[in-house]
């Protein structure tokens, strides 16, 4: 047992820290630091800078731009990025569709899609959830019917995060409605969002932002070559995609950063001396430390192929803490949090205090999207505890 990083890993950390704090434009990092919404352009610019340096998709195979890093190095890369307020490479590209194409796609698909996916030349959206298929994803009803060398897609996807920026969308579609189990008969299809019949409609969230969308498919014709892997095996690819990551499951670095900033805000507002506020900080900081160390245990775990059981703690507790920190920030803002709809010109309230409640409300989604905390508890109870 040893806590220290090896000399090699320590040097690696230093290299990452230097890169992120010097090569990514300050204005983008400032926007992240003040929890402002990023523009599409900010996200694209940042990812291209990373990609040019080989830092956008390190988890991919080396052939397609990946790096042969250890899980610990990928963890360090991921934490240092958050610490430096650098936007994480778009998850739909880097962690989702990229690995699926790289693992299950045809050579043509790889050549066509992987380089622009890494460079965010293609902005991918995710077409999984449907109005009646949320936690029960396998009951999805969007269909793709084969006609000649095309698939004809009909149906509706929802909760499509940042779908308004999407160039392409990867979808789970039902290709065999007669399959004996609902998990069977599903395929994984890549759809050009400029195709006739694709409509993206915004869903406004309770924080007032437009972050998710409905995507409608009406007789959308998709070339057969855009089906990934085998027909009717899409559920396996979706499971691969969702269970793929050991690194970055919990937003540790980002939550730590917000908590550290909140300390400054509390100090400036004179409330850090309140013993109850200080105790809340100490308690959250300790929980976050325990979470970070759990993430480190998971990544440092000798890779025998099986995920470390504690990894299922990460998403569950990670979202709970992210939400709790956002709640504390609202309390520190106090009455100033009411100035949420004001522009900087209209208000004497600090930026951070004006976004405090919208951020808190927005983060209620964290325990719902991407496998709700109820689903996580179910996984722990069944898979780990055998209940």
């Amino acid at each position: 047992m040893r806590l220290e990083l090896s000399a090699e890993d320590a040097a690696f950390r230093e290299e990452m820290r230097t890169f992120f704090t010097t090569q990514v434009p300050q204005e983008i990092r400032d926007a992240v630091a003040s929890r402002r919404e990023l523009s599409k352009d900010d996200i694209v610019r940042s990812q291209r800078i990373l990609n040019a340096a080989g830092l956008a998709v390190p988890g991919w195979t080396v052939e397609w731009g990946g790096r042969d890093w250890t899980p610990l190095q990928r963890h360090i890369w991921h934490e240092e990025m958050q610490r430096a307020c650098v936007p994480i490479p778009l998850a739909f590209n880097a962690s989702m569709v990229g690995p699926v194409i790289a693992t299950f796609g045809s050579q043509e698909q790889k050549e066509r899609f992987l380089p622009p996916t890494a460079n965010l030349d293609i902005w991918w959206s995710q077409g999984f959830s449907e109005p009646d298929a949320g936690s029960d994803l396998a009951s999805l009803r969007t269909t793709a019917v084969r006609q000649g060398d095309e698939w004809v897609v009909n149906g509706q996807k929802t909760w499509t995060t940042l779908g308004q920026h999407g160039d392409w969308i990867f979808c789970l579609v039902r290709t065999d409605p007669d399959a004996p189990k609902k998990q069977q008969g599903i395929s994984f299809l890549l759809v050009d969002m400029t195709s006739p019949g694709v409509t993206v409609r915004p869903i406004q969230l309770i924080d007032g932002g437009h972050e998710v969308n409905e995507v409608w498919f009406e007789d959308v014709r998709v070339p057969a070559a855009n089906l990934v892997g085998e027909e009717n095996k899409g559920w396996d690819y979706a499971k691969f995609l969702l269970g793929n990551e050991r690194v970055g499951v919990a937003p540790v670095g980002q939550t730590k950063r917000v908590l550290a900033q909140a300390k400054e805000w509390a100090r400036a507002g004179g409330v850090l001396d309140d013993p109850l506020v200080a105790a809340q900080f100490a308690d959250l900081e300790n929980d976050l430390l325990a979470l970070e160390l759990t993430a480190l245990r998971v990544v440092a775990h000798s890779a025998d192929g099986k995920p470390h059981p504690a990894s299922s703690v990460l998403k569950l507790k990670g979202t709970v803490l992210q939400q709790a920190v956002s709640e504390l920030v609202v309390d520190i803002a106090g009455p100033a949090s009411l100035a949420s709809g004001a522009t900087a010109d209209e208000s004497d309230v600090d930026d951070w205090a004006r976004v405090a409640t919208p951020a808190y409300l927005n983060l209620r989604k964290a325990s719902i999207y991407g496998g709700s905390n109820e689903v996580q508890r179910q996984i722990i109870a069944r898979t780990i505890l055998g209940l």
């Binding site: 009951s139 406004q204 309390d331 208000s347 508890r377």
Partner: protein, 378 residues
Amino acid sequence: MNFEYDDEQEALRDSVKALLGKAYGDFEQRRKAVDADPGFDDSTWRRLAELGVLGLPFAEESGGMGAGPVEVSLVAEEVGRVLAPEPFLATVVLAGGLVEAAGSDEQKAAVLGPLAEGESVVAFAHLEPGGRWSPTATAVTATSSGDGWALDGVKEPVPHGARADVLVVSAALPSGGTGLFLVDPAGTERSGYAVHDGSRAARVTFSGTAATPLGDGGDATATIATALDRTRIAACHQALGAMSFQLGATTSYLTSRKQFGVTLNTFQALTFRAADMYVSLELARSLTLWATLVSIAGSPEEIADAAARASLQVSKASRHIGQEAIQLHGGIGMTAEYAVGHYTSHLTALEHWLGDGRFHLSTLASCIGDHDEVDPIP
């Protein structure tokens, strides 16, 4: 001892419920009302005036109905139930309450009459940027110049400050203490904006702005504190109405939404959480009802204690219920077109306008050694 409304109170509740239910029973109407300035519906405001609601707590001499805290509380609860955006709390209970408490007879007639008739919106400019929930003012100062007073400084956020026809303003007095003034907003610079829950607030800048002392002038800190405490108790009722709606919406959703081929109420882990929401709601309701009854005849100290207790309990309940209501709904609870998340947004705004749970807990903790037990019955 009796915790039930009398017939007159029931009748008032039914009228308010009918009026607001018609206006906002369809949540889409409420969304429309908050979309455009002033963030509420003028015709609903007028109808509330016709019903007497906007003059409810004021003496009949001031143009009001002479009703008490119980009547105020049941209006607030109905406002909360449909999330009616009309500024009953900010204008009638708080700003109007201050004028009623501290104003001269002439001022009461001049300000409260039009308020009760729905012709004038009154706002209390008290919170200051970077400040918290103190009953005193520091950022806005009052200076006396021969025959009049002038104010300087910034108040923000001022709930409904941009729409207000009359401002009640707190300001640091040259002699120390905090005074209350009536101000014509025309002499101020105002920038108004929407709050996350759809209500409105503003920054109000005073630059040598002419001001009239409310009543006799002098230090009004205690008056402000009690008016805030009374507003807190009414706000607890507003929160009860909102939480009742959220619990009802959640149980309806659990019995109708299907996942994995069955309705969600098949999952015991979810129904038990709804049961815990009910426990939180009922405990908050008990303490809030009590605080209202204490405020009928209580001393300022007793009202302050009761307001802190109810506010703490409602803070815990509203975070619990507000968060669980969204979580048990899943994705749909996050969307602006669905009601339940807006209630969470409003509960958060309400608490941070008047004082959060930790603030009240600190107050209660600081005097924990002053008594052995709390006996709720006088």
